[in-house]
Symmetry: C2
Subunit: 323 residues, 2 copies
Amino acid sequence: MKGYEELFSYFEENLKQQAFDNKPSELYAPIQYTLGLGGKRIRPILTLMACELFGGEIEKALPQAIAIELFHNFTLIHDDIMDNAPLRRGEVTVYKKWNSNIAILSGDTLFALAYQYVQKADTNILPVTLNVFNKTAIEVCEGQQFDLNFETKNNLSVDQYIEMIKLKTAVLFAASLKIGALIGGASFNDAEKLYDFGLNLGLGFQLKDDFLDTYGDEHIFGKKTGSDILANKKTFLYLKALEIADKETRKRLINYFNSKEGGIEKFNEVKAIFTRLKVDRLALEKIEEYRKIGLSSLDKINLLPEKKEKLFAISSLMIERDK
Amino acid sequence: MKGYEELFSYFEENLKQQAFDNKPSELYAPIQYTLGLGGKRIRPILTLMACELFGGEIEKALPQAIAIELFHNFTLIHDDIMDNAPLRRGEVTVYKKWNSNIAILSGDTLFALAYQYVQKADTNILPVTLNVFNKTAIEVCEGQQFDLNFETKNNLSVDQYIEMIKLKTAVLFAASLKIGALIGGASFNDAEKLYDFGLNLGLGFQLKDDFLDTYGDEHIFGKKTGSDILANKKTFLYLKALEIADKETRKRLINYFNSKEGGIEKFNEVKAIFTRLKVDRLALEKIEEYRKIGLSSLDKINLLPEKKEKLFAISSLMIERDK
């Protein structure tokens, strides 16, 4: 069984061999640029790992792993337009480097290219793979729309937030594992258990992201903390704080999040409220809860524990990370 | 064999039965709106016709016909953002009625939904159907990017323009026919001939569109003429005119197309130049040329001529139309 590092090198090498250098170059240069920005490649590695878990050769799952990474990068290109994000992995975003039209269209193309890799699945596995892929793609779009809606919505509950990140983020981790498992020869039942493992890990992953954005160590995290608070993003931390705060604190928080003003001072004060209310600890507990549920699904798969070691390790990587 | 009218009713009725009413409504309302704007539905009808031509039941091709119409509408939603188009089929475009973010995301969702219908193909036909669909989707994106590039590009040739409209418009007509044919049980060879028929008809269709935008009768055409000239769109008419004009006329044309000024006066003067150079006639000849090439491909399919009558009729509808 191969671990994260080995699969990372394997995937990077193979992704680099995909040229994506057709014409017009205005369409393909942003695709090459985005894929070249790197990232942890967790999703495709989950696909490869899941395939190997059930005895499949990783080569067999490679096209689907690439498909998932292309799809993920398509969503990043489009999300960055919608979120007015100037930077992605520390580099200028596509719509800023080129323009919105090119970002829309190169994103669309990347989405279509993803399906060209889905298509490489063996005929017997193609219908179910395509089905998982389509369902997930639609859910990710729905999640992004919920996220956009939340910007102007008040009275959001923590549950609504969890439902949003489930669609926007967690289902893609889950689908990455399920598709890999199916290609590896897993039963539908086992593939579903792995889906559930991925879904819960994905929720934990996103909550950890929220946590690090406020509580991360900038030197380790590798990006500036505080962006969520300064953008008035209604994350788990904020919604949980609203839920448990007294009337006065609640009012102060809402006031902060209704204003576009305030830099480091606002960040520090909101963070202090969060800490006083212990929502940082509540977040870490919630993350641990999701990890436990996820691992219990992994447990239920009838394979020797040592076979599952690498997946166990990647779940720690996703959740215990400081960056 | 069913004709255009009958298949139109059949398709409309079945499209209406697809609810597309999931949550969040911000995502699905624009999809329902766009599909409800109507249109000639030529592409899906070609799919149904091609299926029936080879003895298949039209019901069998319905999911693919819907997939193609969804894909087409996805491209319209995104193109309208890129082209800053305020109106589509006489109604406000999605990005104007809602906003760009919603238009990007509901377009993405429509693209994913299209694949949910592609997926309904029988297992034996799914790989090849998916292959044609993917290839076409990528080509359409490439075509749109070439079209965007042409806005700022000089020294374009008529051939480059034809290559652009082939990708942006013609391949989707061609793929609609090919997919229908394959589902109907056509040999790969016959499906390819039908593809070629659709490709040439598609080229003729787009050139007719260009022609009508300048030479159409507004009352019949149903929309204002002159929009291409006023938007400095480098269509066949303009590029052909540049090719054959004397130096002086060429300079005048280029001046007109470098300026954003000028309303009806500019339109009338440019149109007068076109007419003097007979590019209107040259366009109609070119259209006829494409129709002939297309029909000769249809001819080569080894079926009784009366079987092909309805396809022959739709080719006239696409090319002889005044609206």
